[in-house]
């Protein structure tokens, strides 16, 4: 099997990446990645080591990623908006951190990293490359998910025709990796957005004649609300893929109105096994069928289980195993109709804000640091703009100015949490939020 770096040579001078108005060919991207191999050597980044990488889609970041894979590294993809870079590097025992900003890479060696998790150590010892994506954990701590690159790339052996695709989904998400490898294996063009506002995305679709637009249902709602789609020519779009949140009829209607010539494809995937090729049912596109050759499915008590060769090697922490006999429990509630599945969403407290997962306990822990808070309970409430929103009920300590307190809570959360995790709705209560068994009561708003 050719490495992802060697794979680039198959497409020579064809355009590979469009970024900030510049086009980089496959040959140029290959040359850039080769130069990044030299850069890594000069920076003292050892081959076969754990390296953290932080950056959005751009020629430099892609080249660095491929160079790291060429040097058989395990690359931990640090979430772009994360304020806890050091903590995440620590979690995976990264030997170095590479950050790309404005096409400049800065490499920082990390002193005295802890011991590698046995799964990562095993992969590196065998001389295999891999990558780590972080997924929200129920305890509030992000869980590092380890994938073997070789295993993950298996599903790109027989990819279809090349398209001009926007890399809307972030590189540090499994869906971003999926976008990258589909394009680089099919010889397509990756159009990397600088920002992801509806206006910027529309402008880029028009200028780069984007054919495939992989987005989330929430983004479709926003595009509709912004009205920006009416000011640009979006007729190049042939396929809109939508994932990470349950699909609604309204989203389907909006796609049909904004992209009348495009086919809509619902995607389903998780950080733990990637996103399989899927087909939407003709009569009702909320139903999908996963690629049965590579992904076996079974439904146990309404919950979807998946068995696949691309399933992760495991979590790099002491999380409970969710893979039993090769079957991965997705935790997603589904309806089944023969081979067709309809994803209904998580059967748990998890709040899905525009495709990003929020665990109530993480937010509660931050709010409870405040002296004026005696107790709090975080929950989700449906909101058509972002699917759901984060809400909190607070039992204050003593007499407080409620308006000032609301502001304080938002500011305090803003300094410690990603923006999508900060509660937008804050209500106060004088009642304790625990039931007779001292279990926290969470209002069910969804």
């Amino acid at each position: 099997m050719r490495s992802p770096l060697q794979q680039l040579l198959a497409f020579g001078d064809d355009p590979a990446v469009v970024f900030r108005g510049q086009t980089t060919s496959y040959a140029d991207l290959h040359a850039l990645a080769e130069s990044q191999c030299v850069f890594l050597r000069e920076q003292g980044v050892a081959e076969q080591s754990m390296v953290a990488l932080r950056g959005d889609f751009s020629p430099r970041t892609i080249a660095l990623l491929l160079a790291l894979f060429e040097r058989r590294a395990v690359v931990a993809l640090i979430p772009a908006g994360s304020g806890e870079v050091e903590g995440l590097c620590e979690r995976v025992a990264a030997r170095a951190l590479i950050e790309v900003r404005d096409e400049v890479a800065v490499c920082t060696a990390r002193d005295a990293p802890g011991p590698l998790h046995p799964l990562a150590a095993g992969l590196l010892k065998q001389g295999h490359a891999g990558f780590v994506v972080f997924t929200s954990g129920s305890s509030g701590r992000p869980k590092p998910v380890l994938h073997s690159l070789e295993r993950f790339l298996k599903k790109y052996d027989a990819v279809g025709k090349p398209f001009v695709t926007m890399s809307f989904l972030l590189l540090d998400h499994i869906a971003g990796m999926d976008t990258l490898f589909y394009i680089s294996h099919s010889g397509g063009v990756l159009v990397a957005p600088d920002t992801r506002s509806p206006d910027a995305v529309c402008a880029l679709i028009q200028s780069a004649k984007v054919q495939v637009l992989p987005v989330s249902p929430s983004f479709i709602n926003l595009l509709w609300l912004s009205g920006d789609f009416e000011r640009y020519d979006l007729s190049s779009v042939e396929i809109v893929t939508c994932g990470s949140e349950p699909m609604t009829q309204r989203v389907l209607d909006h796609v049909a109105a904004m992209f009348p010539k495009a086919a809509i494809k619902q995607k389903y995937g998780t950080s733990e096994f990637g996103s399989p090729a899927s087909k939407s049912r003709g009569d009702d596109q909320r139903w999908i069928r996963l690629d049965a050759d590579r992904f076996e499915t079974k439904v146990v008590e309404g919950i979807l289980h998946v068995k696949s060769q691309t399933t992760m090697l495991g979590y790099l922490d002491d999380s409970d195993p969710v893979v039993v006999d090769g079957w991965f429990n997705t935790g997603d509630r589904v309806e089944q109709d023969g081979p067709w599945l309809r994803i209904l969403g998580r059967d748990s407290d998890i709040i899905n804000v525009g495709g990003e997962k929020v665990f109530p306990r993480e937010v509660e822990a931050v709010i409870e640091q405040m002296d004026q808070v005696a107790q709090c309970s975080v929950y989700g409430e449906a909101n058509p703009i972002t699917g759901n929103m984060v809400c909190v009920t607070i039992v204050p300590r003593g007499e407080i100015d409620l308006k000032a307190m609301k502001k304080k809570v938002k500011m305090h959360c803003g300094t410690q949490l990603n923006r999508y995790k900060v509660p937008v709705k804050i209500v106060f209560s004088k009642q304790w939020l625990t039931n007779a068994r001292q279990k926290k009561v969470r209002p069910v708003g969804q």
Binding site: S197, D199, S218, L225, V353, P384, V424
Partner: protein, 98 residues
């Protein structure tokens, strides 16, 4: 009533802009763009603004309204495009509720 709603929206935008510090949001007028176009706020800020205005309306008029609803999401002209449109939309929702 319309003036009062405008003031509620203005106060909510002012509070939001204490953090965002966008020049375009400094002097709120009916023409101020809220969502869409090159400037304007992002989706998380929009959700927050809508929730804050709901709270302001509830306090001022003692009526609960939902301002992110099917009507808002389906209409061809978004009620969040500027302050004037949002003011009219809040007024209509209030009338429906009472």
């Amino acid at each position: 009533m319309k003036d009062q709603i405008f003031e509620i929206i203005k106060a909510a935008i002012d509070e939001l802009n204490e953090e965002l510090e966008y020049d375009e949001l400094k002097d709120v007028t009916p023409e101020t763009a809220i969502f869409g176009g090159e400037s304007g706020i992002d989706s998380l800020s929009l959700v927050r603004l809508v929730v804050d205005v709901e709270a302001g309306v509830s306090e001022a008029f003692d009526t609960e309204v939902t301002l992110a609803n099917e009507k808002a999401m389906s209409s061809r002209n978004s009620p969040y495009r500027n302050v004037a449109a949002f003011t009219d939309f809040v007024l209509a929702c209030l009338k429906d509720a009472s």
